[in-house]
Symmetry: C2
Amino acid sequence: MKKIIVQKFGGSSVGSAERIKAVADICINTKKQEKCDLVVVVSAMGDTTDDLLDLMKQITNTPDKRELDMLLSTGEQVSIALLTMAIQKAGYSAQSLTGWQAGITTEPVHNKARIEKIETKQIKKLLSEDKILVVAGFQGIAQQEITTLGRGGSDTTAVALAVSLKAERCDIYTDVDAVCTSDPRIVEKTGRLKFISYDEMLELASLGAQVLHPRSVETAKYFNMPLRVRSSWNPENNGTLVIERTDGMIEGQRSVRGVALDRQQARLSIIGVPDEPGIAHRIFNELASRNVSVDVIVQCVSHDGSTEVDFTVKREEADRAKEELAKIAKQIGAKQACLDKTVVKVSAVGAGMIDQPGIASKMFKALGDQGINIQMISTSEIRISCIVQEADGEAAVKAIHNAFDLHEIKE
Amino acid sequence: MKKIIVQKFGGSSVGSAERIKAVADICINTKKQEKCDLVVVVSAMGDTTDDLLDLMKQITNTPDKRELDMLLSTGEQVSIALLTMAIQKAGYSAQSLTGWQAGITTEPVHNKARIEKIETKQIKKLLSEDKILVVAGFQGIAQQEITTLGRGGSDTTAVALAVSLKAERCDIYTDVDAVCTSDPRIVEKTGRLKFISYDEMLELASLGAQVLHPRSVETAKYFNMPLRVRSSWNPENNGTLVIERTDGMIEGQRSVRGVALDRQQARLSIIGVPDEPGIAHRIFNELASRNVSVDVIVQCVSHDGSTEVDFTVKREEADRAKEELAKIAKQIGAKQACLDKTVVKVSAVGAGMIDQPGIASKMFKALGDQGINIQMISTSEIRISCIVQEADGEAAVKAIHNAFDLHEIKE
């Protein structure tokens, strides 16, 4: 059997008839150059989903979840038909497949279903007829019902197909040339990464460099499926390869490889907590049981023997979390619960960091030199994060990016 | 089991969010007043299909038929989701179904498939849960492929569902209040028909009063399914009931009940045909084998013993038919083949006509009084048609409508 490549094109990549023709060219060139079997996953065209939602909102703001999937899944169906026509027009054999035709079975949940299984028999049969297959992203079927996958859905469709078909790799075409060392809207001169590990990508993705959805990266990591992030505007550019280990590919001793800014943070504090053993566990156990997800946590004991516990949550969940925390404060005899919605998280990410002393202090110095106050710190093997005031967020990113000379990365 | 009613709403009836809400009200009122199980069939919203085709034409003018069905079937899917949301928003239980979810199986042909079978098990189960079902018109499934039904598709879906579900009747909502005695764009004061027979409706539909597609009327006639044509803008109006026999419902002795104008006509003549037995059969046999459909036929023998045969064909097929006819003329030793694209067919229709002498002469007199020259005449049990010059078409309709006082019909 020929090698299989899966390519995914996002909404802006197929945003117009012109763009669809350009994407058809990319598909055909890949097929020719790589002499491979090709499966192409597409999202809905540009603003289609928003247009459908606008129309819907004139009818209801609280749609039935099943009907919402019925509505939104049409967007990808339009894209697959048009892209297939464009490929055929250029003289290549192609066929479109909806989620259900492609055998993509999800759990029986609407709006955010996870893929359970892909029955690849039909796809393999069609590939054996040398057809380029164009599959609708974001959608599947469960018990004869159309389901959608929610955020990052099309990326996930592509990775899941690549895994199920044992593809050589999965190309994710987007509107950036590569994964950069930071957000180009913040940092003027960013570096460009030729390779990145799944873990680094996950940290950068979940921290706000929204190139790839964490969900698809997690799936790729689990099955060790190489992803290539590239631009459908500059397809000759090789983009960034996301793989398991980047050791030996990182030039020199560079350890920090990206700086991310997460604006969706809010800080909660519970003050005057009685200093008893197990009290932190009790607080976070209560929060978990009330379905509040916590990110950075800091606990400090003051001289008078009482304790303050600070942590961050997603900003959109902050008000609800505050209410729950106030109840918990009463229960455990703490003084007060406070909420600050004007914080952000700035993070330096790099797989080699753990082996290199001095990274943290260099980062803190860079922030200090700019007069930026660090409210909270958290670290993982490949990341150091600081919670700072929202107003300082972009300056913090620039300072760290500059301190580690990340603009020099041109791998 | 409760009685079942099927309602169908065309593209303009669901052309905007406002219209969709109005249609939801009609559905709910029917459900309440008739205490019935309700199945609703909808077309794509207003210009959706044209918009999709415009987008497509930027890519190709010769789309693959399968991909065209993939593209166009999204239009109805959007409508069913939105109408279902609107019905739910008004507090009623509802569920949308695509063609394949509704069990509508067609022959394995794209763009103009005929419905083979409707597996009603799922629909009946959902109806038993007291849900209003909203089904995508115009589409079905064949061998796991999405198919569309072509022209008049949504009407046909509605009638086929009504037949399969043994519905009490099928309501076809459109943008006219009722079937009129002629086209209101031609005749200022038209009469309004409360009842019409399938055969009359077929004559009027195929003759250009484009309220119902002949295909759906034929199916309704075959299974004797009552159709009610009504307006979604004036749902309180009872519209026109299309049934098998209207005897006894026609007031007085009125026999002509409608006048139609068919502009899609072209006249072909083959001149100087040798007067041999069987020559007409030979001409039309040849035409049929070349796939030319013929409508009105007139043959006349002139004094010199040669024969002229005149007939009409659809105007869009006229050029091709002319070429074929020229070949046939050579074969049989006729002089010449001529084409006139500037003719139209005006027809008086009425189920009671056959029993009433003098109808034809009254019609010819009406035309003669206006100085309109009749080129060809054809009759059936319920119709008299005259071929006239295109420029005389509208005047001919008015003259006949007036001669039979059809504006007085207000059943």
